[in-house]
């Protein structure tokens, strides 16, 4: 006799295991809620990372035929489209922890200058939350993940009593800091999720500066190290790897009923049923999934009656200016790798009296003194004239003197900057591909000018020399890897897709908890805010489930 069993209906399905999805899984399972978590990739093996490995040892290993763990998704496996004249560099990590395996770790609190920007200047919509709504979550997240930083507290960058001690500035950063002081340009310690103290059983950072290779001691926050194992320990989490989500399925009432995905290894189609779906596949892939989830009740994509999903893509503008400080030429070579990247940060200042310009929103900047990057010092060295022993001597003299300035600026949300899906071009599973159409406007051009003026002024005051610097040049579109806006939250269901708790206005049992929910990009790095919002949204979700408001 054949026994027919009904497929299991999970209380919650989460898509994606990075900052947003990992936080959702951790927060729901610790409250006793059963979750199935789908990730498009597999577990990365920390034992295989080449973290505390010198370049020469890496070379020897490669020569022996060994390979480090590779994190980034190859476009050959999963292509995306752009207009020919508007390239966009999309960086995706499919695997447990997603981009938190290799993220930049900069952890800056947003303030009401960010949340209420649209109230002040009228451009698009403000966030439906204020700083006071999210501040308790910032407190919790900082304690959970271990963020280092200074004692500063300002209208732009709210202070925190939960920060771990920041690493000391390097020589070049001291000189730049002093110059900024002279110019009355604000400068503070950087804030980064590198643990400078042992935290929750994880060892402190060893200052190898090699964070981009993944951390083999888990000394910076990564969802796969700091959230998923604890969620699994509850016994409430089922983690399905290599589950490439295609669509969210809906019932006859238009409510989410499950998720359709493809097995990345076999290509076979699978479905999982659930009462609530939490989407945290990162801004661009979450948007693709929502737009591909078409049905008779959702002909324009899931929860997209407003047609805002896919629009208002905002990815920050940035550039990387390099130069050297003659005052440091010829000094001894130091081990300046530190926590990788900058140890000092310039918070936004263009809203201050007398500092304004004819554009909206603002920019901040990270500053560092070279040795954080094994390749950095050599990049400008080919501009030193001549060749031979004198060139070799000059390169060595300049080696300790290199610095980098790395400004990030807000790009405004525009309806025409848009993610769509192309029904005629499909991936290996037959699912329509992403199309990203993104370009900047006049506001961003003016901001770029101000960025250039500012960094040139600071370098001049510090007695520095810029090398290979082309005023006004920006890094390629997409290279900030801070995509936002395509499934934004707001109070008006006609102009936004999500409520203040990341719940879809049109589909009550779907929550979108990643960067796509941000109504604007701000100039700050988003992960701390993504973690805080996801924690807040899933607290609300857990309460709503307990109240019975989310049962079918």
């Amino acid at each position: 006799m054949q026994v027919i069993t009904q497929p299991k209906v999970y209380p919650v399905i989460i898509i994606g295991s990075g900052a947003s999805g990992g936080m959702a899984a951790w927060n729901l399972t610790r409250q006793g809620i059963e979750v199935v978590l789908l990730d498009a990739g597999d577990k990365f093996d920390r034992a295989k990372y080449w973290t505390h490995v010198t370049p020469w040892e890496s070379q020897a290993r490669l020569a022996r035929g060994e390979k480090p763990e590779t994190f980034f998704l190859d476009t050959k496996e999963q292509p995306y489209l752009t207009p020919n004249d508007r390239p966009f560099e999309l960086t995706r990590v499919w695997g447990h922890g997603g981009k938190t395996n290799v993220w930049g770790r900069v952890s800056l609190r947003y303030s009401d200058i960010d949340f209420k920007a649209a109230d002040r200047d009228g451009w698009e919509i403000p966030w439906p939350i204020s700083y006071k709504d999210i501040a308790p979550y910032y407190d919790q997240v900082e304690q959970l993940i271990g963020v280092n930083g200074g004692t500063d507290d300002s209208d732009v960058l709210p202070g925190s009593k939960y920060l771990q001690p920041p690493p000391a500035p390097r020589c070049g950063e001291r000189l730049l800091q002093r110059a900024m002081g002279k110019l009355n340009i604000p400068v503070v310690a950087g804030r980064r999720a590198n643990m400078t103290r042992p935290t929750r059983g994880f060892p402190a950072c060893h200052y190898c500066g090699n964070c981009g290779n993944g951390c083999d001691t888990a000394s910076f926050f990564c969802s796969a190290d700091h959230l998923l194992p604890f969620a699994l320990q509850t016994g409430k989490l089922e983690l399905r790897s290599n589950a490439v989500v295609a669509r969210i399925l809906t019932d006859e009432n238009g409510r989410a009923s499950g998720v359709q995905y493809f097995d990345r290894r076999t290509g076979s189609e699978q479905q999982v049923r659930g009462k609530v779906v939490v989407v945290g596949a990162s801004c661009v892939d979450s948007t693709r999934i929502l737009l591909n989830s078409k049905s008779s009740t959702h002909p324009n994509g899931l929860g997209n009656g407003s047609d805002v999903i896919g629009r208002y893509l905002c990815e920050q503008i940035r550039l990387n200016a390099r130069g050297y400080l003659p005052a440091l030429e010829g000094t001894a070579t130091r081990n300046d790798r530190g926590i990788g990247g900058e140890h000092i940060y310039m918070p936004r200042f263009n809203h201050r009296p007398g500092r304004g310009r004819d554009y909206l929103r603002g920019f901040g900047a990270q500053f560092w003194n070279t040795w954080s990057n094994w390749n950095g010092p050599q990049e400008g060295s080919d501009q030193i004239p001549g060749f031979g022993a004198s060139l070799k001597k000059q390169i060595k003299r300049r080696h300790p003197a290199w610095f980098e300035i790395h400004p990030f600026g807000e790009a405004l949300p525009y309806a025409h900057n848009r993610i769509t899906v192309d029904p005629k071009r499909v991936d290996r599973y037959g699912v329509p591909l992403l199309h990203i159409d993104y370009h900047l406007g006049e506001n961003e051009r003016k901001m770029t000018e101000h960025m250039a003026d500012t960094l040139e002024e600071i370098v001049k005051a510090a007695g520095g020399v810029l090398v290979n610097y082309k005023r006004g040049d920006l890094d390629a579109m997409g290279s900030a890897i801070h995509e936002h806006g395509t499934c934004r939250m707001g109070t008006d269901p006609k102009r936004s897709a999500l409520t203040a708790f990341n719940q879809m206005h049109e589909v009550k049992n779907v929550f979108v908890v990643d960067g796509s929910a941000f109504p604007n990009a701000t100039e700050k790095n988003p992960t701390l805010t993504i973690l805080s919002l996801s924690w807040r949204a899933t607290d609300y979700l857990a309460q709503e489930m307990k109240r019975g408001n989310l049962s079918n």
Binding site: T51, H52, T54, P55, W56, Q59, L62, A63, F72, L73, D74, T75, K76, Y80, L81, T82, N84, P87, F88, E89, L90, P167, A168, P169, R170, C171, E173, R174, L175, H206, Y207, C208, N320, R322, A332, T333, N335, R337, I339, H343, W374, N375, P377, Q378, E379, D382, P385, G386, G388, A389, I395, K396, R425, H435, V467, N468, K470, D473, A476, S479
Partner: protein, 201 residues
């Protein structure tokens, strides 16, 4: 609307190009692209670290061209109190970068090398591999000047390319980083002191 998929592998090497990181405006695109490719390949120079060095053979360069590249790279970063580009096997790095570069960039580079051989013969009666260091220096000095004119002008772009590739290859090798620049190689510090100079505070 014309659309196309983005090629991720290639694009990483060219990010800096888009950013205008290779600054001299007159530098041809092929040189910028090749130099960016070299930087992208810098941490994969397994070829230069390979044990059993005697078994190595160039994959792009002919043996004579390889000898020329050895001579040129050593002239750009010579042995001083520390070993130079030859000891750091930078020629193998150059051959590797050429092997992964676009065909156009590869052929431009080879064309430049051939031009330099011809120029060398015209000036000192020998090809690059056969010339002494002093002879090569006299041939290269005018070529190494940005904005060189007359008969030396065609070599400027090539020299820029091989100089940049040599610098990248040498200063990412153990000899360059550790012996020449004095990197302590320590990857596990108990504390980070930062700047301790009183004059910088």
């Amino acid at each position: 609307m014309a659309t196309s998929p983005t090629d991720l592998t290639r694009r990483r090497a060219l990010t800096q190009l888009v950013a205008g990181a290779v600054g001299v405006a007159a530098t041809p695109v092929w040189v910028q692209s090749l130099c960016a490719q070299a930087r992208a390949e810098a941490d994969t120079q397994a070829v230069t670290a390979a044990a059993g060095a005697s078994s190595w053979a160039p994959s792009v360069l002919t043996p004579r061209q390889d000898e020329a590249v050895i001579a040129l790279t050593e002239l750009i970063i010579p042995a001083t109190e520390t070993p130079g580009a030859k000891a750091a096997l930078v020629n193998r790095f150059v051959d590797h970068v050429l092997s992964v570069a676009d065909a156009k960039e590869r052929s431009e580079f080879i064309r430049g090398l051939t031009w330099l051989d011809d120029r060398c013969r015209a000036r000192v009666g020998k090809d690059v591999a056969g010339a002494t260091a002093a002879e090569l220096t006299s041939v290269l000095t005018p070529v190494a000047t940005e904005g060189a004119s007359g008969e030396d002008a065609p070599g400027v772009a090539f020299f820029h390319a091989i100089k940049s590739m040599t610098i990248t290859g040498y200063y990412t090798s153990e000899i360059g980083l550790r012996q020449e620049l004095g990197d302590d190689g320590r990857m596990m510090l108990g504390a980070f002191e930062g700047c301790t100079h009183p004059e910088h505070q």
